[in-house]
Amino acid sequence: MDCPLRFLLKLLAVLIIGTALGLAATWLTVSKLSIGTVSDGPWRTSLLIGSAQSGPYLRANVALHGLLALNRGETMYYTADHDSAGGWLDGNCVYKIEGREPSARWWSITAYGADDYLMANKDDKWSISGETVQLKSDSTFIITASPRKAFSNWLPLSQRRFSLTIRLYNPGAGVVNDPANAMLPTIKRSVCL
């Protein structure tokens, strides 16, 4: 028979270890699981964002990754933290984002820092949209995401870890029905500084 003090210490240890395990399980399942996502090249989107989903895992996942986001009939959000070759996006490098205008009433590409907020830069420039992008004669575009100023279609980077989000407002039916084939731009790493 344990003495009372030893019993209390064991009980305390059980509570601490159990609480730590429970919190770790929640963090892992909510922050690391990619529930209901599809990919189009380096771009990932959650098909659950903005929708009322049953089940605590799906609900917590949506709350954390798609807070106040709209349902996909209204807006689709694709995020990339890797380039098209599979490498992590690195803010010390130059990236060429090449493609055609996505099928949507309005679109934009925005760069975010590791904390999921806009990165401070001298030009106060954080996105390029269908209104501001300069298209080539064949209606394609090349956006340059880099820490140093580019000649045109420049998306400034000021943090080492960053990610990109494409927003498609009122996306075309083809994108809504087949989000893995949205024909989104490629992200190619050029040089690193």
């Binding site: 064991k10 059980v14 509570l15 270890i17 609480t19 429970g22 954390l64 106040l68 999921d116 996105s127």
Partner: protein, 175 residues
Amino acid sequence: MRRLALWIVAALAVAAVVHYVTLMDTPGFIMKRVMMKMGEANTIHHQGRVTAASRGVVRPSPDLLYSVCPFDLTNGALHVTAPVPPGTYWSVSLFDAQTNNFFVKNDKDAKGKVDLLLTTPYVDVKRPAGAQEVVAPTPKGLVLFRTLINKEEDFAAIDAVRRKANCTFIRSHAS
């Protein structure tokens, strides 16, 4: 040996309870924090332009203007009215306390204006004539207006129209 197994089972049971409680509380906790950041309930808050200093909600769009009404329908309903800025994307979306998007209407659907009565089955209020009734799944949540700045030169005009949106609380007869 058997005693050790019992302690391990007890630790796993504690872990299961902590995991379940934190998982269930995550959406409500996140939404409550966001609503507190947004300001007083049942009042519209027109936010300034999104910049690198903005810390309201993660991954904000720098191309949108946001206006929000955190709502609390415990003792009444919320009358939401807004003119739709012409020539740009605009939407009003409603989120419950668990972060679910339970209603959205954009500029194409709204045809010039929105007039909503956001209510719950538990309150009895004088209904504004012509308002579309929307029942909220939870008494607390958020109304979010998005207005796209599609051309920089139109910013002042777009901003002036979106600031005409309003959220007016209507107290329940019973309260």
